[in-house]
Point group: C2
Chain length 383, copies 2
């Protein structure tokens, strides 16, 4: 796109930066990372009181590029551009927005594709399993490095929302507001089952080479493609799939073969293939494990309310009625625990029925709820 067409409500051209975290990080799995790098972007300006910082946590395949464009040629902006920008729900005229690529990621932060200083080659399968709690610990290093005592808000959808919940438990004096979108207090057996099939697709791909595909000059394309295709089934509601594709035949007739026939097949194959070009299989495995392990109530005898009782944050929980990956009922479990814990919580169930991916979409009711809540945060700050 040319400069002339950069949208007026965009944060515009942005560049990622890298933080060197030199404090050793003790991970839940027992491994200590002596140092690590976090790549991040910021939008807007940190105020003099350093009180208007908003941390954005990403979901399974997200990264630090949440808003704006990296170049004028970019066809698409960052993944949450619909919600972050001047005048948008997370208004960069008022807030200093920070988005990072999580530890274990593949977009610049230390992860399986990084060089292991101990061996001089890529970590690959030797990269330790990281948890949502590890991410919060790592994100606190970023917070400290930016000189932000307390985030005005931490926000995220799906796996991002789980990080927000963990923030509210592990570091509740470090954030004023927790915004948990399209998340769940822990995965269901069915959620884990889907993740397991996706992992097996990757692990059993002969090109996976026990995670050392980099050394073999190949990628486990088939496995990662299957994992992504499967993921996409869970991101769209049945209704949305019906509305989008129905039983439409790509060539208008049955071919009695195994090439693409129905439009939905074409869509899934495209999603799978394009994902392989931009995502790392070892990171995908790590992200699904972080999802499976997430269960912040575990250390409170499975009592989430007990975990949230000490939290100083105020909460906004948002769910989407068409989401069958993390249905509204799972968000209500979080809300119920917050109410039981006596916390300040607002809850919005958005009537949109596209599915889990709705948390990324510019849905007016959703943007209205999110924007309204951020107005309240801004008003709190101004007091």
């Amino acid at each position: 796109m040319s400069t002339a067409t950069l949208p007026a409500d965009s944060v515009g051209l942005v560049s990622p930066r890298t933080l060197q975290v030199t404090t050793p990080l003790q991970l839940e799995c027992g491994v200590t990372l002596p140092s690590h790098e976090l790549v991040y972007e910021t939008y807007g300006t940190l105020n003099a009181e350093r009180s208007n910082g908003v941390l954005i946590c990403h979901a399974l395949s997200g990264d630090h590029h949440a808003a704006g464009y990296h170049s004028l040629e970019d066809r698409k902006p960052g993944w949450w551009d619909s919600c972050i920008g001047p005048g948008k729900p997370i208004d960069t005229n008022r807030f200093f927005v920070v988005a990072l690529n999580n530890l274990g990621g593949c977009k610049g932060s230390t992860g399986p594709t990084s060089i292991n200083p101990q061996t001089g080659r890529r970590y690959g399968p030797d990269f330790p399993v990281v948890t949502v709690r590890d991410w919060v610990a790592s994100q606190r290093e970023l917070q400290a490095a930016l000189g932000i005592e307390r985030w005005a808000a931490v926000a995220g959808g799906s796996l991002g929302g789980m990080q927000v919940l963990q923030w509210a438990i592990d570091a509740s004096d470090r954030l004023r507001h927790a915004i948990v979108i399209a998340a769940a207090p822990k995965l269901s057996a069915q959620n884990i089952a889907f993740n397991e099939v996706a992992r097996q697709a990757i692990l059993s791909d002969p090109d996976f080479h026990a995670g050392r595909y980099y050394d073999h000059g190949v990628l486990p394309r088939r496995g990662l493609m299957l994992a992504r295709m499967l993921g996409h089934i869970t991101y769209l509601s049945e209704d949305a799939m019906r509305a989008k594709f129905g039983r439409e035949l790509r060539e208008g007739r049955l071919n009695f073969g195994f090439d693409v026939e129905f439009q939905v097949e074409s869509y899934l194959r495209y999603q799978g293939r394009s994902f392989v070009e931009r995502f790392d299989a070892n990171t995908y495995l790590l992200m699904t494990k972080a999802l499976d392990y997430f269960d912040p109530a575990r250390e409170f005898d499975d009592d989430l309310a007990a975990g949230l009782r000490q939290s100083q944050a105020r909460f906004l929980v948002i769910s989407f009625r068409g989401d069958w990956r993390f249905p509204s009922s799972r968000s209500r479990e979080i809300v119920d625990a917050l109410v039981e814990a006596g916390r300040d919580v607002s809850y919005v169930d958005i009537a949109s029925r596209q599915g889990h991916d709705d948390f990324l979409m510019p849905i007016p009711d959703y943007q209205g709820a999110l924007g309204g809540y951020f107005d309240r945060i801004a008003a709190d700050l101004a007091r």
Copy 2:
């Protein structure tokens, strides 16, 4: 098991037989099979009027072994043994029950693992795509060979139920009752999407060798295992998965690795691995295509009622509330079309919440409904 322990309500020891169909069969895809074999079993005795025949149609991974035992050492009886036998819902003291392996199958009927007479080697990927309508045509050959003018009933669950519906449309004067269980009038886009991921898992397995794995002395184990794991997620309701496995850890603790950790992973891997030993990948592909293509209303301008208006059969439709593969709402679409078409239809929605697999389970309400309906069929015959 020893003779002493063969259950009294079992049809006992049974042996499959083979029918040579020498009439050429013109398939929907355009191919004509000059001849084919069907392997089948029968339980009970055909009466003098040849009026008590009941045809059982199998689902995706089923076969002709629906009841009884092949040997005293068998650990398990046929797949629908809970419903077929003396005194059971489909009472072999009253009915002559016929179950076959469908054309394209891998348990003895002509299919991809059979020798292609034109080449002298296994058909493999050259076996033509077969449809539900082709199966009905092939099953009519079996009916004729058995000297049965009209089935007392044709019954089946899931893909088997779809065959029943097609019977009622294509050969409605050849059956008195149509028993359609846990089925749908056609697949949804989401159903097709799951099938497509399963197919891609098989097709992309390097050991698939474009369907010629027999010639390479290998099997596409990884792909077929993934397909089956994915299938099992759709066979169980979320509630059932939670009740069966919850988030139970197999070793009671997190291992921070990619071996089995949660019980549900162990279950899925076991289901996947054991399936590979007993099923053919090319047949699996064909079965999923038959599911995708099934849409009997298509030739009636998408008006299922129009297709059913001429049917002479009476109908029993059964669904299960926990079934999310083919939910009760899909069965009600069939019922609505039957009502609109002025057909005689009974409908039962079983409260059990295990999932799609409930149609195979000995659920009292289900067995009561099925048995009651067969009592009515028997009473009709006695008139």
